[in-house]
Symmetry: C2
Subunit: 323 residues, 2 copies
């Protein structure tokens, strides 16, 4: 079913005439939306709507609004992070320039609202409120992420709040919007939102985990990227908390070493401290806890077990598990 | 009455708790909204609402949405144009950095939608549609402005379309939104929109005019800024069209001269060609025509002459005339 919903998202994206005049504004939008990706968020919107109403079509525009919004954040984040590639292709600010990425991104945010406005007008105020609230939270999450780069005393609670804002709320809102369009009760929509938040947190922590302990071939990125750029992830924050005086001194010393020539050594040294402190196990536990919380949220929802199983399977697939 | 509405805008801005956590995101928003300015757009929204309903208060949130949106465009435009100051103060990307200007700008665009959503829900779909349409047009106008910088064959029609999108539609939409909130008929709201478009065009052409023929002391900027950076304004486009072979060659030669040391000579030479070709008179005529069209649009509106006089006076004041 997920594959089929994915195809519907692709078809809907392909059906829209993204390119208009001035081409300098619209070509990059078409480019970034054509890069593909798993379309996780719009698929969740369609899935939620279908589970509650039997039909996903009323949620198509809202699903696309979520996807266009998500791609807007990628465009602007890539400028801020000076990222050169995205999905194996040059980022918009690389292929064009910074100004293009800023302005086309702005247009995408507005386009997202235009797409959202196509939902039935009785549901518009509620969906709009949720969408804007989520959008502003994603901005807040990005700001905390930037702030944390230059801070050494980020707590675990602050970090989890940051990834909740930056990553989880959009997954959760995608689900809740689909549920509301599908006629779910406020209570069921909120339970689904909770499923999304905890799944989003588990997913982001898994990303942190794989960046240090993954198989480079499967992960698709080089191992240790977060370590090299001193990211205060779950792993590093926990390590700094648990480390004895010597290990802590070592970790801080490696974080001051930002020369590319020492990166290989740095990754090796930090990983060995992580392993000594059993940070991998700690992280696995946290992932497991959020994942369990996510699936448990489904208990409160008025849906058949068959339908809930689809959501459990989706969660397992997203986490790279075969349930 | 305008002064009083201006004060209401300031009070409304002051009443909102702009600064929240994370401060890195919200401080710049508070900063840019505190810089002041004439608040032309929100005043027009309040004025239009008051003229049709006798009360401006129902339009306060929409007026603020327009002002926050306008300031969002300034934030991002200043990054793109590398402008260092705005209203005599450092721009956000100068006081903080580019990333802050991008992200805080994004948050302002979302905030604008949140403010707009406070209008009564029966009017929300129509206002939202108008707001998004206008917002995307402003992006298109900015893109054309960027495109025209590197083009030598911009026609007058293309230029007018660019300033219509970049400047006039927001003035017009500010008026139309206020009118709709105030209960105006669609026809009256459209006539007011037309008043706004033509007033916006006249206002922008006057800005072009003053940049070349104004009194530096009154204009508040150095004369010839547009000439120095080769802006294809109404003046330059008309001059290139009317110039004989020699003058055209001269104009093109000066446009290739981008060394600061030659700017004084460049401004003097281009101005003397403008005067020879009577470009100042042409521009005055165009301003007069748009201004007349603007005021004529009021004929079709079902409002008392007293009320229309307020709009005529506003237009005259905006154009720096004493009616």
């Amino acid at each position: 079913m997920i594959k089929e919903l994915q195809q519907q998202v692709e078809q809907k994206i392909a059906s829209i005439q993204w390119i208009q005049e001035p081409k300098g504004l619209y070509d990059p939008i078409d480019y970034v939306l054509s890069l593909g990706g798993k379309r996780i968020r719009p698929v969740l919107t369609l899935l939620a709507c279908k589970l509650f109403s039997g039909d996903e079509k009323p949620a198509l525009s809202a699903a696309l609004a979520i996807e266009v919004f998500h791609n807007f954040t990628l465009l602007h984040d890539d400028v801020m992070d000076r990222a050169d590639t995205r999905r194996g292709k040059p980022t918009v600010h690389k292929k064009w320039n910074d100004n293009t990425a800023i302005l086309s991104g702005d247009a995408m945010l507005i386009k997202a609202y235009q797409l959202l406005q196509k939902v039935s007008s009785d549901k518009l105020p509620q969906l709009l409120q949720l969408f804007s609230q989520t959008a502003i939270e994603v901005c807040e999450g990005q700001q905390y992420d930037v702030d944390f780069e230059n801070s050494l005393d980020v707590t675990l609670a602050q970090y989890v709040e940051m990834i909740r804002l930056k990553t989880a709320v959009l997954l959760a809102a995608a689900l809740k919007m689909g549920a509301l369009i599908g006629g779910a009760t406020e209570q069921d929509a909120d339970a689904l939102y909770s499923y999304g938040i905890n799944l989003g947190l588990a997913f982001q922590l898994r990303d942190d985990y794989l960046d240090s302990f993954g198989d480079a071939a499967v992960f698709g990125k080089k191992i240790g990227g977060d370590i090299c750029c001193n990211k205060k992830t779950f792993l590093m924050i926990t390590a700094l908390q648990l480390a004895g005086e010597e290990d802590k001194k070592d970790l801080l010393r490696w974080m001051r070493c930002n020369d590319v020539s020492c990166f290989e050594q740095k990754v090796e040294a930090v990983l060995s401290i992580y392993k000594k402190l059993q940070i991998d196990t700690r992280c696995e536990e946290a992932i497991h806890n959020y994942f369990t919380k996510s699936v448990e949220s489904l208990n409160n929802i008025q849906l058949s077990e068959n339908k809930k199983d689809i959501l459990v399977k989706f969660a397992n697939d997203l986490m790279g598990r075969n349930s």
